[in-house]
Structure formats: structure tokens, C-alpha cells
Symmetry: C2
Subunit: 194 residues, 2 copies
DNA sequence: GACGACCTACCAACTGGAAGGTAGCTAGCT
DNA sequence: AGCTAGCTACCTTCCAGTTGGTAGGTCGTC
């Protein structure tokens, strides 16, 4: 499988980094062109419009996320361990600063001004992530390995919100450790053996 | 106390609404001019630059927040009630859609591309809010009216992150109720009488 | 007559994007 | 083997509209 055209991927990767830094309006074609080493209008050869670029970017991000979650699902049997692994993934991302924020979380914050096509993808990510977390919570409850205070759904939404908030705080404080400080208690509470 | 010049305030209020919708790069002078009913360059009469406008906007927002928190401090003795009131405030804001997001939370998400002067104000807000929440947690613990799992500081940071995440989820789902769904369990856990 | 509040008329730089051209590769036909 | 057609990947040139911002003028009020 030879990587025939890496340019389109380069553009997507670059755009992702820029979006993570400043959202949809935080970057321009010129920014991408500079980094990728291509002329600005050439980007249109790979992506018809900015909306198109960001939509496929988010769509691909969602695919990767889904793949990551099913990898967790495959490799880790324990629901508590799955949550732990999910948090560890983000903790690593934030620590090495490669992608210190969830693309969809950032875009969600500016949802009101997002092109509808992009907004749809972003909302879909939230539903998918919450759905996976809910299933993990449910399984954990059934197996008696997770201690839920409320319903699996509410617990999952709370977990997701806390993770997003933790990303934000880590960024605001400029301190990657803050993510762990905030998220570790989540696990402790859920996997408490009483 | 006659409101001598309301235009500057109108500009600030309008800019605040626009920032809440889409962040620093989500609005332009033209947008403000349209809403306020003024010509675009006239904004410069009130605010030397966009950075200046947003900086004073955030600064004023922080003042209002501080005033709000000390009002809570004044009127509500119970730490648990104080947290409840804080959440109720945001729940109302999100429900009536006047200001369904914290200005500083939104700006924090795009911190890397924010002008330094604005970034400083945003970081200061996070420190101030976390500091207040920490003091509430501490008092609640001392009085035996709040049940903390960890230190007051960690509990406060977790609370703040959850609130920000809840705002994000409410926005992503397009469902104001989600804020309450996520934040109510926070209070229940903290004020549990065991 | 000074000043605040606002205006019109500009500006350079940048925005995403359209148009059309070119170099190189490949497939199919003769 | 040679020719042609069509493809991808990029280029240059150009565009209308928008960005934040400047310069200088007008008008009403104290």
C-alpha cells in the first residue's frame, strides 16, 4: 500500500493542528499553504472549499476516534480499565502537546457560527462518544465493577463533560498535569470498592 | 447616575454576545457596527483596537463575575447553597439563551491564538473562579456540610471543569437541560449526608 | 471654542475562491 | 515504438469581499 498522495493528508493534518489551536476561524488557507509547502490555491485541488476540508477532517477524526475506542474495547476487558485507558490516551496527548485538545470539543464551543455540515459532524461525535461511555458504564454496573451514583447515561455524560472541562483547564492553566488532577478522581469514585 | 454614554457599553454587550457565539475570530467590527447601529470606524473612537475592546470586555466580565460571587457569599450562608446558586445562575443563562456560555471558557479554548493581553485576563478568571470554589469547598468541609473526596482544591477544579464541560455538552446537544443533568449530580455527591 | 461622538472616505493586508495553464504520468490504440 | 487522450498535482494570476485600522471632517453640547 504505497501512500500515493500524501499532500491531501498533510493538509488535513496541518489543518487539524491549526483547528486545535484556534478553531474554525483561527486558521486560513495561507497558514496551511505555508506549513505544507504548497501554494494557497492548490489546496482547492484537494478540497473544494474550506467547509469541505473541515468536514472531511472532522469525519476522519471521528473514524479515528471510533477505531481507538474499539481498540480499547478489544484489548481491555475491564470497564474500569477501559475508562482508565481512555483517560491515559488524552493525558499523553496533552502532555506531549501533539494534540492537546479534542477537535470536536473545540469546534463544539463555536457551534453557533459553524457551517451546518461541520456542525452535524461535531454533534455526531458527542453522541457517539457519550454512547460508548454509556455502554461502558452499563457493563461496569452489570459486572459490579463500576459504582454508579445515577443512571449509566447520566454518569457517562458527566464523565465526558469532566474530560472536556479538564482539557480546558489544562489549557487555561498552561499545565498538562491539571488534566490528570481533574480526571483521576473520576475513576477513583467509579471504581470504588465498597 | 445617568448613563452618559451607552454606546461603548452597547459595543461591549454586542461583542460579548458575538464572542459567546464564536470566539475571538468569530466576529468582526462590521458585525458589531450592524447591531449597534454605528459605522464601523466609529468603534475605534471607543476602543483603540480589537485587542483593547476584547481585553476590557473580559476585564469587565471578570468584575461582574466577582460581584456575582460576592453577592452569593453575602446572601447565602450555606456552602452547599452557594454552589447550588452558582449552578442555578448558569442554568438560567443557558435556558434563556441570553449568555449560554462563559466568555472566559470559550476564549480559553482558543488560548493559543489569543493576543497575550486577552489571554492574561482569561487565565486570571480561571484562577479567580477556582480560588473561590476552593474556599467554598474548604468552608463546607470545616462546617461538615460538604463531603469532599479529595482536597478542597482538587474538588474545586473538578467542579469547575465539570461546569465548563456541561456548558459544552448543552451546546453540542442543543439541549439546555443537559447542563442541569450533568451538574445536579455534582451537588448531590458533595452534599451527601452520610 | 473646546470637546466628545460620530461621520465619510480611505487604506493595506488578507479572506476563500475562480480561472486557466503546465508538467509529468499512464492507458489505449495503431 | 510512437502517438494521443486524459489524468493528477500543482502552478500563476486574478478576483470580490472582508479584515482591522487611519485621517480628517461635521455637528451638537457644555
Amino acid at each position: 500500500m504505497t501512500n500515493v498522495s500524501s499532500t491531501a493528508d498533510d493538509i488535513l493534518a496541518c489543518a487539524r493542528t491549526l483547528i486545535i489551536a484556534g478553531g474554525y476561524n483561527g486558521f486560513s488557507y495561507a497558514d496551511i499553504a505555508d506549513v505544507v509547502g504548497i501554494r494557497k490555491p492548490s489546496i482547492h485541488h484537494h478540497f473544494a472549499s474550506k467547509v469541505d476540508l473541515v468536514r472531511t477532517l472532522v469525519s476522519r477524526y471521528r473514524e479515528e476516534a471510533a477505531a481507538g475506542l474499539s481498540a480499547i474495547e478489544r484489548n481491555i476487558p475491564d470497564p474500569s480499565g477501559q475508562l482508565k485507558n481512555y483517560l491515559a490516551y488524552w493525558e499523553a496527548c496533552i502532555k506531549d502537546a501533539t494534540a492537546p485538545f479534542c477537535v470536536c470539543a473545540l469546534l463544539a464551543s463555536e457551534l453557533p457560527i459553524l457551517p451546518e455540515e461541520v456542525a452535524l459532524e461535531v454533534r455526531a461525535h458527542f453522541r457517539a462518544l457519550a454512547s460508548w461511555l454509556t455502554s461502558v458504564m452499563e457493563r461496569g454496573k452489570r459486572q459490579g465493577r463500576l459504582q454508579l451514583a445515577g443512571t449509566a447515561r447520566v454518569e457517562a455524560e458527566g464523565f465526558m463533560a469532566a474530560v472536556h472541562g479538564a482539557m480546558l483547564s489544562a489549557r487555561a492553566y498552561g499545565d498538562p498535569k491539571m488534566f490528570g488532577v481533574i480526571t483521576r478522581p473520576l475513576l477513583e469514585r467509579l471504581s470504588a470498592t465498597r
